[in-house]
Amino acid sequence: MPNKPSLEDIVGIGHSKLGFFKELQHKIEELNRSNMELMRQRKHVQAIVDGIADIVAVISTDYRIRSVNHSYYDIYSGDNPAGRHCYAVFRGRNRPCEQCALKDALEANAVRRQSAIVSVNGENRHFEITASPFGQTDGLPGEIIVVKRDVTREKELRAKYYHAEKMATIGLLAAGVAHEINNPLTAIQGFTDGLRRRMEKLAPHIPDETVKADFNEYLAIIRDECRRCSDIVRSLLTFSPRSSAEFSRVALNRVIDNVLRIIQNRLKQQPGLRIDLALDENLPMVNGLPEELTQVILNLVLNAMDAIADQGTITLRTVFTPEKNSVSVEVADTGCGIAPEKRSKLFEPFYTTKPVGKGTGIGLSTCYHIIGAHGGEIAVESTPGAGSVFRVSLPAAEESARES
């Protein structure tokens, strides 16, 4: 026997029938510990899920939201949407959407993607939606993880980029065409002038006054039209890239003064029109070609005048935005506005909304290229029936001079 028991051992005062209390205590302690660990892990996972910049929602097969991550609240305001239908929460509908990535994913039991533009708090947002089934039971998904990535800004930037690309291509093409047309145009113009001089000598020999008058009129028309062509060609030539070496300091407020002087006469013909000025007197200068910038502002103001049929106001505003180091000129009118579908084509050459004969479709396109060549941007906001705002932004020149 390993160690001989004593009488005390047999009495066993210190020994009782062992119960499971201690085991239970250990178990409970162990469970508590593992519970804490699970909680910690859960928090960690939740933190990861919340840290995802996209909206992550777990949705049941009956379209009810089980949970969402933190990013949900960045885009959608309001309470925890758990328990509500996804179509109500995300789309404000009262039944499932016709096009539904979740439904597709469920049917295919595979990941499905969808791109959708959704109105959130009155603002259109572009979402890339990924629906992945998970939580399989008996081969059928129990839930769907829906990840909604807000790509509104990316889409905007991409659209802008495509637009800029397109405009550059068109500009290059137009400038090329202009260049090619310039020479024959010069010849036509030269020979027309020659014909006019010959007409002076020929005139006494032409007995028929009517024929003479016709000849003179036709020559005048040819010359006028040639001049018009020249103007267009000159405008188109501004589309081609230039160096900024020829830029000088320009005060935009002075440019506006200039423009107002030019349109003085036309203003008198539109008595219902008012021009309001909101000019920042401390506006920094910009680098550029004064004539071209004048042309841009003039163009925008003339367009604004055209947009206002009878009564209305044009507001010219200059603003300096220090954060962006950007100087902008706003031309706002209370005119007819521009329909959304037309807005994207606005800056393309030969696109015009004006009646035939009234506009060439060159003006805004020229503005776009001029401002582009100045390293700036031109943008438009418009509400049909209420008016439009054209905003030209240019980089401010170095902190050397301010307008005074």
Binding site: I10, G14, L18, E23
Partner: protein
Amino acid sequence: MDVRKFAVPEILFGAGSLEYAGLCARRFGAEKVFLVSDTGLEQAGWVGQVLEILKAQDLDWHYFNEITSNPRDFQIVEGARRYLEAGCDVVMAIGGGSPMDAAKGIAMLASSGGRVQDYEGANRIQRPLPPMVFIPSNAGSGADISQFAIITDVERQVKMSIISRTLVPNISVIDPRVLTTKPADLIVSSAIDALSHAIESYVSNIASTLTEIHSLKAVDLIMTWLPCAIEQPGLENLEKLSTASTLAAMAFSNTSLGMDHALAHSLGGKLDIAHGLIHPVLLPPVMRFNMAACPAKMADIGQIVLGKRLDTHEATALAGIEKLEAFFAGLNVSTRLGQIIGDKQSLEKLCRMAARDVCLLTNPRDATVADMLNICKEAW
């Protein structure tokens, strides 16, 4: 050493108590009961009845009967393996000392692992055991009450005593009806075993009032009712023996035993003979030897056996022992050691082994190997 401890399991006692065995197991959260028994009880129909009772409680079970009398260590290891393999959660035993001791060993190894030898001695079990519900089928062993388990180490040829309060079963379901199917000789040997428990616990050097009262009542019941039970083995008489056995066990579980059991364990380990048959041979000479240490207590026993007191303690005690010898002789059992073991040569070795037995610790009188050898020779 004045502080004593008295610990017994919950006891369900009475004809019909067996019916509650399943409920008891269920109360311990049982889903699958590990039932230990032997072929004798199967044949008597008791195992089938227990299974019915378990079924009535919607309990699943695993039945184990691969044990012999004087259960062996390897049988315990196999039982524990089966317990764990079957995923049981409560140990139930119906039977005599062997199935119950085996069940204790199985519960022990199932919860703590290792070998039976690892727990030999006192208070070596460190982990709680599965709940144990025991149904004794004899009125003698007291294994349904006690903190002891005796298991044979086959290799060393010794009976290992495992002592632990944790071995006390949770519930003892004592239904005297189970005794009715027992043959008369088994009733007798069990009752003698219980009587030896009662006598040895009474004179144990850690006996206390809490145990003595049980010991004396047990002696009284057995002396009075065993002859009646032999003559008329009806439920009423057997119930008295059940009570006696239970009382004796309540005492000896807390007091341990003495030299008679030390020698009996030693003989049993060597010869694999029925435990109860050794006591008629050894108990009287052991009592005579111990009388010197506790004449008053021996006289108390003598008074019960005789039904009266003589002039002195010694006289009462000696007369009592003589009456006891006559009582044993009347039971038609061997009363000489020579009738049980043929080989006198092995006596010394057996006594040396007995000298190391835990039971000797609580014997009222210190005994050497030579003392025991003398006693054995006296009993030859």
